[in-house]
């Protein structure tokens, strides 16, 4: 399987290299859908210039990267394009390996269950065959590397690619079962953009499951491991934050990075939900609604963790998707990351209800973004409401997509325990309804 992956990476790199050399690169790097104030390359260059001049890069209101990123770019500024491509490559390979391991586990579990005769007999067609599973990792890598969203984000040299790579490495380490590395990468991802902290729950559940420790609040072993993992996470976070402090010699970056993410002062339009609301809102409601909007990202962790406590990898997917939908400065690069997971759930395809409608909506919206932007900004004939309407529709589409997968996943599990052909009490055919 290494050969197709290599081929894929070569194709992906070629596409990116060609686009980097074309005149499109400049255009793409200006698009609000692709870069946000958090990860725009222009701002990185500005921050580096300030750093070289001996001024704190956070002294203005331009630069919002974390100190470690800027020092990384300080060394590789001349090879930025290569770094972006390598980041994409790392993400793809990490996801590839992670999904490979995950599928192996799924298949083994399925085999044991079959041998133990735990599934109802009519559920045989729901089983995942090795043939299906074989190509899934490759498809995941392909979905990530060849997705137009990733390509755009990479060509714009958005630092989103690096964040994605960190999250992908975190997923890989977690699935491989290495608690320490997983905690370190989780700390790194959190350090980069706060929101990945919600991935703590799925990672913990997965690692517990791997060690055969039941999620039971009264068991001592559960608390022991939770504390252990939390300690590793907090410890590495403290080390990273401390390192940033020593590199820079000041705490400037905390308000400028995390304050910026949480209080959303920059209302440049993007594909997220924040900008329009806060541009329209009266100033004295702002704090309240910022809390409401930000809680949205973190809030779903608890119910989802309870509902999906036996399926931590799916939970991880749900969390990544929710982060990328509800975060304060989303870009298409974030969407690409969770969309890369879709092939892993291809066996849910038969239970998806709205996939046709949702993919039509997502496709149409992606095409309409630049059109409405043109009408608003260049032609001056439309206004921000047009653009926001599409943003809203795009996000509704994403939410529907994710909830559709969620429903399909639960439904499959239900069938696996209750049989495929459900009967009502009177013997007629029953249907499951999500209410």
């Amino acid at each position: 399987m290494a050969a197709p992956l290599t081929l894929l990476v070569i194709v992906a790199v070629t596409i990116r290299a060609v686009l980097f050399r074309s005149s499109l690169a400049e255009l793409i790097s200006e698009r609000v859908e692709v870069v946000s104030p958090l990860n725009s390359w222009k701002r990185v260059v500005e921050g580096l210039a300030l750093l070289d001049l001996g001024v704190s890069p956070y002294s203005g209101d331009v630069f919002h990267e974390t100190p470690l990123t800027i020092y990384l770019y300080h060394f590789v500024i001349d090879y930025a394009e290569i770094v972006c491509m390598i980041a994409d490559g790392i993400t793809a390979v990490a996801l590839y390996l992670a999904v490979q391991v995950y599928n192996k586990n799924v298949f083994r579990k399925q085999k044991y269950a079959l041998e133990a005769d735990r599934y109802p007999h009519d559920c045989l067609e729901l089983m995942q065959t090795p043939k299906e599973l074989f190509y899934v990792p490759l498809k995941v890598a392909m979905f990530y590397l060849l997705s137009p969203f990733t390509i755009l984000s990479c060509v714009a040299k958005s630092t989103c690619g690096i964040n994605n790579a960190i999250v992908a490495l975190f997923v890989l380490c977690t699935i491989k079962g290495s608690a320490l590395l997983s905690a370190i990468f989780l700390a790194l991802a959190t350090y980069q953009s706060i929101y990945p902290i919600t991935l703590f729950a799925p990672a913990l559940i997965y690692l517990l499951q791997r060690l055969y420790i039941p999620v039971n609040l009264r068991r001592q072993s559960f608390w022991l491991f939770t504390l252990q993992y939390a300690f590793m996470f907090v410890g590495s976070l403290v080390v990273i934050v401390g390192l940033s402090f020593f590199l820079l010699g000041s705490w400037d970056y905390i308000p400028s990075v995390y304050g910026f993410i949480l209080s959303v002062p920059d209302l440049t339009p993007n594909i997220g939900l924040f900008w329009y609301f806060f541009a329209e809102m009266f100033e004295h409601f702002r704090l309240f609604f910022i809390c409401v909007f930000q809680i949205n990202v973190f809030f779903y962790t608890i119910p989802l963790s309870i509902k999906l406590k036996d399926h931590p990898v799916f939970l991880m997917f749900m969390q990544i998707a929710i982060i990328s939908i509800f975060k304060s400065y989303p870009t298409v690069g974030d969407i690409a990351l969770y969309m890369a997971f879709l092939p892993v759930w291809s066996h849910l395809y038969r239970f998806l209800r709205n996939i046709f409608m949702v993919s039509c909506v997502l496709l149409a919206c992606s095409a309409l973004f630049p059109v409405l932007w043109h009408l608003w900004i260049y032609a001056g004939s439309a206004n921000s409401n047009f653009y926001y309407a599409i943003t809203l529709l795009f996000n509704v589409g994403q939410v529907l997509l994710v909830s559709d997968y969620f429903y399909a996943y639960l439904r499959r599990e239900h069938h696996l325990s209750h049989g495929l052909y459900l009967k009502k009490k009177d013997g007629s055919e029953a249907t499951l309804v999500l209410k």
Binding site: R353, F356, C360, G380, T431
Partner: protein, 616 residues
């Protein structure tokens, strides 16, 4: 969310939609066309009204007295122009200076990609002359533009004369709060393009121009004047700009109000408004006016010198004097007063014109159709594509999500559709390569064609384009062998094509409604009903007749018919050829998007549908 999650209701809905698909589609098409025709019916339209407060209630008294002197200046200008054989730059500079303006000139040159036979130009070299009247009452942060093109023949001298007369008169007034720029541009749109690019420090089309030495504030509005006779019977307002962009409706309202005030006959599309809207002829007049507007807008070209201003977010229109055989004549003084009034109102603007509509169609000057009213006409057509896509989705191996709610479908559809997803890639890629060839080759290969065939460059370009277009039709034979893999292949291909077309047309309709609507009118029936199982020859003929190229041909004939200048078949064909070359030139010179849109997207999309017809 009942509809989204309750399988029974969903099934009922999808069953209804698939069983009644064809009748619903036919109904939608008829509804779309009927809706569009109904737009011109007066009770369904809205009366225009001035939305901008700053222009609405203020009183303006026009006192421009010097119409006769303007005509004398015009004759002088004409004489100098004849003498020098081109634009009399020195004379213009001197005259403008004597009128008390800050005068600057700008030279520019442009080599066309191929000779323009309509206007007989290839290497264009010219000079723009403009004079700025500085605002005495405010900081110089905003400006208004009055422009008159200087054409090589004898026409339009009166416009330049009136412009100079107005300059002199405006100079003596004290109420100007915005700079007023008087611009005489040579080589109509090319000169205008050079001036605008230099004014805004951009270079979009790779033109050579000298930088401007004098500049006013940011331009708020612009009027372009075209007058070719000493007296006029009516004034025509031209609104359609580059890529079908229109100025704010308030500008049209302003023109209409002042025409009423000055008692000048005003027209749009050179059609006089009729008062008997309830009679057949009154309605047909309104329909014709609107259809002309739709055709002009769809062409995406600037229909007057104002057209390029719109790209820079400047509201602008062309006012064209018409002299016909009507009894009632208007003299230059009155036209001057009209312009004075309009400029004084524009001078009162506190912010850019933005209150009124930007998306509208005008069945007459006093009535308009806003975007909310005309979009459903397009919506009905677009819905057909979505319904067909839904139908195909259901047909594609009776997908579980739609039919049986996940339970009881035996064959996994993924197996059958995933190889065909790869196999349809070939026709899609080939079609787009043909489109790319249609876009690039004609201009590139003109030299080669001229060497080998007895044609001029322009003919070579147009004929190459037609040749590539026709050659594209022979392509389906190349993709046959892939289809044997999957019998369902054509359905997947059609699903992709239908969705692609739907997205493409909606995006087009948002930017340029007319273009989107005209394309939808011909392409939607093709997309909806083409399958490999319909009678081949008949469908092939129908498809060719409804192809984008033929649509253009019909538009040419329809346009001539509506302008009351019907042409014979041969003349129509020649016109068609020149329209193609003009479209390419518009793209190369001003950045019009119609030609690339047709060549790179619409035509490939049609080719995919053509592929489906010959799918084996």
């Amino acid at each position: 969310m009942g509809l989204l999650s309750d399988p029974n209701r969903r099934r009922a809905l999808t069953n209804l939609l698939t069983r009644l698909n064809t009748p619903i589609c036919v109904l939608c098409y008829l509804a779309g066309v009927a809706w569009f025709m109904g737009l011109a019916f007066e009770p369904f339209t809205l009366r225009t009204y001035m939305s901008e407060n700053a222009m609405g209630s203020t009183m303006v008294e026009e006192r421009f007295p010097a119409g006769e002197r303007a005509l004398v200046t015009a004759r002088e200008f004409g004489a100098h122009k004849r003498k020098s054989g081109a634009m009399p730059v020195d004379w213009l500079v001197k005259t403008m200076q004597s009128r008390g303006l800050e005068v600057y000139t700008q030279s520019f040159s442009r080599r066309l990609p191929f000779p323009d036979e309509n206007k007989e130009r290839y290497m264009v070299r010219g000079t723009n002359v403009y004079g700025i009247l500085r605002a005495p009452r405010a900081p110089r942060t905003e400006a208004l533009v009055l422009s008159a093109p200087c054409s090589p023949d004898n026409s339009n001298n009166q416009a330049v004369g009136l412009l100079l007369g107005l300059a002199q008169y405006f100079r003596s007034q004290i109420y100007w709060a915005k700079d007023i720029i008087f611009l005489v541009n040579e080589h109509d749109l090319i000169g205008m393009q050079a001036w605008l690019e230099a004014y805004h420090h951009t270079n979009i089309t790779g033109m050579d121009w000298a930088p401007l030495h004098g500049r006013g504030g940011s331009i708020q509005a612009a009027l372009s004047l075209e007058l070719s006779s000493d007296v006029v019977t009516s004034l025509d307002l031209v609104l359609e700009g580059l890529n079908g962009q229109l100025p704010n409706l308030d500008l049209a309202n302003l023109f209409y109000t002042f025409c009423q005030k000055q008692d000048i006959l005003c027209t749009i599309q050179e059609k006089l408004q009729r008062s008997d809207w309830d009679s057949v002829s009154g309605y047909s007049q309104a329909v014709q006016t609107m259809a002309l507007m739709v055709l002009k807008q769809a062409s995406g070209r600037p229909w007057g010198d104002h057209g390029l201003f719109l790209r820079y977010h400047i509201e602008s229109a062309t006012i064209r004097g018409i002299n016909s055989f009507r009894q009632y004549k208007t003299d230059t003084t009155t036209v001057g007063r009209l312009l004075e009034g309009m400029f004084r109102k524009l001078n009162n603007l506190l912010e850019r014109l933005h209150q009124s509509y930007f998306f509208y169609l005008l069945p007459s000057l006093s009535r308009f159709v806003s975007i909310g009213y005309y979009m459903p006409a397009f919506g009905f057509l677009a819905v057909i594509l979505l319904l067909r896509a839904l139908d195909l989705w259901v047909q594609l191996g009776a997908l579980p999500s739609v039919t049986e709610d996940g339970v009881g479908s035996r064959a996994l559809p993924l197996q059958s559709s995933s190889p065909s997803l790869v196999s349809i890639l070939t026709p899609v890629v080939i079609s787009h390569l043909t489109g790319a060839a249609l876009y690039t080759l004609p201009v590139l290969s003109q030299e080669l064609a001229v060497q080998h065939f007895p044609v001029s460059e322009t003919e070579a370009v147009v004929l190459t384009a037609i040749a590539i277009y026709t050659a594209g039709l022979a392509l389906p034979h190349n993709t046959h062998r892939y289809s044997s893999i999957a019998k369902q292949g054509w359905r997947v291909l059609k699903l992709v094509a239908v969705l692609y077309l739907a997205v493409l047309l909606s995006c087009t309709a948002l930017i340029n409604f007319s273009l989107g609507f005209i394309l939808a009118l011909t392409l939607v029936p093709v997309a909806a009903f083409v399958t490999p199982h319909v009678p081949k020859v008949l469908s092939a003929v129908v498809m060719v007749l409804l192809a984008p190229g033929c649509t253009l041909l019909y538009c040419v004939f329809a346009f001539q018919e509506l302008q009351e200048a019907p042409v014979s078949l041969i003349d129509g064909w020649m016109l068609f050829l020149s329209v193609i070359s003009q479209g390419m030139l518009d793209h190369a010179l001003y950045g019009s998007l119609v030609y690339p849109l047709l060549a790179l997207f619409i035509y490939p999309c049609w080719l995919i549908l053509w592929n489906i017809l010959f799918w084996k």
